[in-house]
Subunit: 198 residues, 2 copies
């Protein structure tokens, strides 16, 4: 129905996460309406991301410099590292604006079922950093899942003997949630981790 080039672009757009057929069609049609400048800008921005963005040499957070702005900052608490499974999570935490420590992005979570083993997710670099940089606390901010648990336990184990606190994010009832819709695992964890009201 569509001319080939238009059909191909619609398919390209549908490859993006969260983009359905309708949206991909609207996007492709809007490309047709782009003037030279807007079109050049889109191509340039795509190319720049491809060319310039890479992991920070210290913490692996995506950056366009050698070291990311968080590692370079003099305002951060250099003794605390929050370990996350993906750069996206760093930006999520930064949006909060309340966390003042550093980050370390590992290469996903250990997942025996998908054949992702401890040696695949770059824990050496994390371990070196914790040992050499006098880190006092390591916060493991993985998603509450089997893979998150396995990875957290594994990191806890390889840090044994070092003078470092290993913590994890609190799990529990999300703010605003309806109690009757909370799944049993979450409820179990919320009960287990209950805090005294003081």
């Amino acid at each position: 129905m569509y001319p080939d080039s238009l059909k191909n672009l619609i398919e390209s757009f549908q490859n993006f996460p969260g983009i359905g057929e309708k949206t991909a069609e609207r996007m492709a049609f809007s490309v047709l309406g782009f003037d030279e400048e807007k079109f050049a800008m889109l191509e340039e921005n795509l190319q720049a991301v491809k060319d310039n963005i890479h992991p920070c040499e210290i913490c692996n957070t995506l950056t366009d410099k050698d070291k990311c702005s968080i590692c370079e900052s003099t305002q951060r608490d250099k003794e605390t590292i929050c370990v996350v499974e993906d750069s996206k999570i760093v930006f999520l935490f930064e949006r909060l604006g309340t966390y003042k420590g550093l980050y370390h992005v590992i290469n996903g979570l250990i997942s025996p079922l998908d054949d992702v083993n401890p040696e695949d997710i770059g824990l050496d670099k994390l371990l070196d950093r914790i040992k050499n940089k006098k880190i006092k606390e390591v916060i493991l901010a993985f998603k509450p899942s089997v893979e998150g648990e396995i990875t957290a336990l594994y990191i806890k184990k390889i840090l044994e003997g070092l003078d470092v606190i290993v913590s994890r994010l609190a799990s529990g009832v999300p703010i605003g949630a309806d109690m009757e819709y909370i799944d049993t695992l979450t409820l179990e964890r919320a009960l287990e981790d209950r805090k005294e009201i003081v």
Copy 2:
């Protein structure tokens, strides 16, 4: 918060219709995950749309040939033209698969408030075509709005004296709609255009 190139790409994606901040972020991150081939394909498809897609020389429907596949087809009823305000509407009708006539895409609707006048929307080409190609029926498929009405009445007027039927899409209650939520204009039109049950 984001590195500059990533921020720029997110902004580029947000320029597309229907793409909010969250989706634009997910899209930009997914570009980072593209391998060389997938990235080249996206750039190629963008460029191809920019380079190859243009209006059909007969009916203005977007195409990558001189004439669109509908104008070139020998299976269509060459005596009926459906006039639409945008190529998108052609593809919408084609999806139905029930309309067998030809199309003509005009350059938007007459809108005195936006300073879009009859001479701005390419009616000469339409008029020439109707005169020279022995067209028997012209279906005006504009959206039911003030601009749609003005444009339809104007076209009806310039076709006066020609041996051609000018029709418009039926307006009325949409299938599946709840009667109590129908706006008064639609209801008025539905009543006016009521059809005898035979």
